[in-house]
């Protein structure tokens, strides 16, 4: 078994950074390193969102996005579920009603489990009701239409949109804005960010989505993974700068090395 040409560097980089990630997660869990994360204002606003809903006595809506757990959107969806766990926790503390809408059937059982566990952890097990988490439709347009209808019916006060989004981002955000709903959007879907920036009160952008779970839960293992992510970025930055300098001197050594 040998490596296909063009993947030698990639493979070894994969191995090295995997080791970094696992090491950082373990080190952080065993308190060998202390990881502190910079503030992400949009995530701080989640509590304000829930507070507003409580004051108004109306429900708060959460969507874990349009992604699935069986495609390349796994990371986005899992990150959104981590945020859901935090939102449920706050909602339980403030005694405000939570409403979760689901697009992908595979995500449904996971969301139910997440919400139930968070309520139990906050000693509010009985606050969980059968219709807290609702499956709408697996078609993205039909999902958007369903959520908009629900926002009208239930007089939602604030809405948190996390995870992967596609073209319906604007359908959701703009209809909610027209109803005067306070919104926080957390997404790595670059194409949808402009609409969220326009229509939502707070927008959390790009990679911040993957950091949100660690940020909100303060879970040491997850924080370690974020620190590892930063090291990988620093490595990429270093390679890019080095490559630019070497290229400027007329050599393509770095390009050839990394694509070897």
């Amino acid at each position: 078994m040998t490596l296909v040409p063009g993947n030698v560097f990639g493979f070894w980089m994969f191995v090295v950074i995997s080791v970094i990630v696992v090491y950082m997660i373990r080190a952080s869990q065993n308190d060998k390193i202390q990881v502190s994360i910079r503030t992400i204002p949009g995530l701080e606003a989640i509590e304000e969102c829930v507070g507003r809903a409580t004051e108004m006595g109306r429900p708060i809506h959460f969507s874990p996005g349009l992604g699935d757990v069986v495609s390349d959107s796994v990371p986005d969806t899992l990150a959104a579920l981590q945020i859901l766990s935090y939102v449920t926790d706050i909602a339980a503390r403030y005694d405000s009603q939570l409403l979760v809408t689901i697009r992908m059937p595979n995500v449904y059982p996971l969301a139910v489990e997440t919400v139930r566990q968070a309520y139990t952890a906050a000693n509010k097990g009985d606050a969980y009701k059968d219709n807290t988490v609702r499956y709408i439709s697996s078609d993205q347009d039909a999902y958007a239409a369903g959520v908009i209808g629900l926002m009208h019916q239930e007089q939602v006060a604030s809405s948190i949109l996390a995870g992967l989004y596609m073209g319906e981002a604007l359908l959701l955000a703009e209809s909610a804005a027209r109803l005067g709903i306070m919104q926080v959007a957390i997404t790595a879907s670059v194409m949808q960010v402009p609409f969220f920036v326009a229509a939502c009160d707070y927008t959390v952008i790009g990679e911040e989505l993957y950091a949100a779970g660690a940020y909100l839960s303060n879970d040491k293992g997850r924080l370690g993974a974020i620190a590892a992510q930063d090291y990988i970025k620093l490595i990429v930055i270093a390679i890019t700068i080095l490559g630019t300098i070497v290229t400027s001197f007329g050599s393509t050594f770095i390009q050839e090395l990394v694509t070897k």
């Binding site: 994969f14 502190s36 078609d139 930055i237 490559g243």
Partner: protein, 207 residues
């Protein structure tokens, strides 16, 4: 002007107006009917295609070419539905684990190779460039790239330099998002225009 006499054209236009009645008027029964037909027909179409694929790639090869190993995915596929029966619901995890495994295995190395390494290599440009213009553009590209990446560094100490540089990254991202919005406008307009064209051309016969 020659209005179409084809009944299907009329149905199709009614469907379009049904969906438009929500923004142009308000929530109404006609819209609700259209919306539910929409969700139902999408789901029905998906069932048909799915059954077709099951037979074509699953059952037929097993029966006709006795590729018996395909019984494994058929069992895994059936196990997906175990979640509807609480006592055996945990079995559906096996199928999900398989699907996730393939998804993760495909994404993990390729995203590193195609999205990280190849993009980093493409960012390595020559200084100075052939003209002053290219030099300036290359400079903006590389500094912009580094600034945005710095913005996404979460755990390093936020010194004044880091803060300033990542603020630059934020501005560059705003330009990116502005460009995105500008493009979206033409995209969304095109869809509406396409519908108008169908109405004027195929239904009303105005063009």
């Amino acid at each position: 002007m020659q209005i179409s006499t084809n009944i299907w054209q009329w149905i199709s236009v009614a469907c379009i107006f049904g969906m438009w009645s929500l923004p142009l008027y308000k929530d109404n029964p006609f819209y609700r009917v259209c919306q539910n037909i929409f969700v139902g027909s999408c789901a029905g179409h998906a069932i048909g295609i799915a059954v077709g694929n099951m037979v074509k790639y699953g059952f037929q090869p097993v029966i006709q070419q006795s590729q018996l190993h395909l019984i494994i995915p058929i069992v895994l596929g059936i196990l997906l539905y175990a979640r509807f029966f609480p006592s055996v619901a945990w079995l559906s995890r096996w199928s999900v684990a398989f699907l996730v495994g393939v998804g993760v295995g495909q994404a993990i190395y390729s995203s590193l190779r195609s999205q990280v390494i190849n993009q980093a290599v493409a960012a390595m440009t020559k200084f100075p460039g052939e003209t002053l213009g290219t030099t300036v553009n290359n400079l903006i590209s590389i500094i912009g790239l580094l600034a945005v990446l710095t913005y996404f560094l979460f755990t390093i100490p936020q010194t004044r330099f880091v803060k300033g540089f990542s603020q630059l990254g934020r501005w560059l991202m705003m330009v990116t998002f502005g460009v995105g919005f500008g493009n979206v406008v033409s995209g969304r307009l095109s869809v509406l225009l396409g519908e108008l064209l169908k109405i004027f051309q195929d239904w009303l016969g105005l063009i």
